[in-house]
């Protein structure tokens, strides 16, 4: 399986994703500079977290206009799996691959801690090693994670089963008190219509090794490798 990690000025989770992916895949992903529109043929594209372009204007807004991102959009539209984590999720909404927008956290604070997530869609290449309803513990680290979309869009996401993860209590209850940032309907991650693009605020790559205090992120990378090696 060949994967590419998009590196922008201000990415800071690119190396973590590289290590997590390498651990599952056994081979190193390509670290691809955002300014280079010639993206090699890959089976998976990851847009990692960080503060691309310093979050100037709006988080992800300037990075979404990077030369490589138009190519990422074209590949996604052809069915190549694209995973956007944190700032990567913000970039995927700003470039139009995913609906809605990530707004300033309702509590105005940067939030950096582990949260509980309920897996809502275990039928995708990103989530096939999880089970529907499973509660996993993954860290968030963001200032703009407050997912917003109009009611029609939210109803469509729900109706088409495109919410991949929701913030929940440790018992799996989706409650206001389990919502760290004010996100609409506790949404932590969503899928595109084709279910080959996932954007999520939490960082699975940060808990993909027991040495780091948890392993709940690892099944995402293991599952991707299983799914994508099988299709080769």
């Amino acid at each position: 399986m060949k994967a590419a990690v998009i590196v922008s000025p201000g990415s800071n989770c690119d190396r973590d994703v590289q290590v997590a992916l390498q651990q599952s895949a056994g081979s190193e992903p390509i670290m691809h500079w955002h300014g280079d529109a010639n993206l090699p043929d890959v089976d998976l594209i990851i847009v990692p977290g960080g503060f691309a372009y310093g979050d100037y204007l709006r988080a992800g807004a300037l990075a979404a206009q990077s030369p490589v991102i138009q190519e990422v959009v074209a590949r996604a539209n052809k069915g190549v799996p694209v995973l956007g984590i944190c700032n990567g999720f913000q970039i995927l909404t700003e470039c139009g691959l995913l609906p809605g927008v990530l707004m300033r956290n309702a509590g105005l604070k940067f939030i950096c801690r582990d949260v509980d997530l309920r897996v809502e869609a275990a039928d995708t290449v990103f989530t096939l090693d999880y089970m529907d309803g499973q509660v996993i513990r993954i860290p968030v680290a963001h200032n703009e994670g407050n997912y917003f979309a109009d009611d029609a869009t939210l109803n469509r996401l729900d109706g088409e089963d495109r919410v991949a993860f929701r913030y929940c209590s440790p018992e799996g209850r989706v409650t206001d008190s389990a919502n760290p940032n004010g996100a609409a309907r506790n949404i932590a991650g969503i899928l595109n219509e084709g279910r080959n693009v996932l954007g999520m605020m939490p960082h699975p790559e940060r808990l993909a090794d027991p040495m780091l205090g948890g392993n709940d992120g690892r099944p995402m990378f293991d599952g991707l490798v299983e799914a994508l090696v099988a299709t080769e």
């Binding site: 309702a106 917003f148 109009d150 004010g182």
Partner: protein
């Protein structure tokens, strides 16, 4: 058409863009500012909404062209129309 000094020989026009959150979109920064203003004793504030102001110097002296260009910039980059409105003010 009125030209400001220095612009007579060159194409030059200023666009002032005001970006505001749409009605119904929660503005936590505005809320926090409102609370602090109230804490400072400033009464009579019903609501505080925070926005953005962007100024562009354009190498253009046709207002129609300028307006079309700036509108395209707002739609493509400067505003996120999911949550924001924009107003353009041209200085000819």
């Amino acid at each position: 058409m009125r030209f400001v000094a220095g612009c007579a020989k060159h194409r030059c026009m200023k666009a002032r863009i005001l970006i505001t959150l749409k009605n119904g979109v929660l503005d936590p920064q505005g809320k926090a500012t409102e609370q602090v203003l109230a804490g400072l004793g400033f009464g009579g504030i019903n609501d505080v909404r925070q926005g953005k102001y962007i100024e562009l110097d354009l190498a253009e002296n046709n207002p129609t062209n300028a307006l079309n260009a700036v509108r395209a910039m707002c739609e493509k980059l400067l505003a996120n129309t999911v949550i924001e409105n924009y107003e353009i003010d041209l200085d000819e």
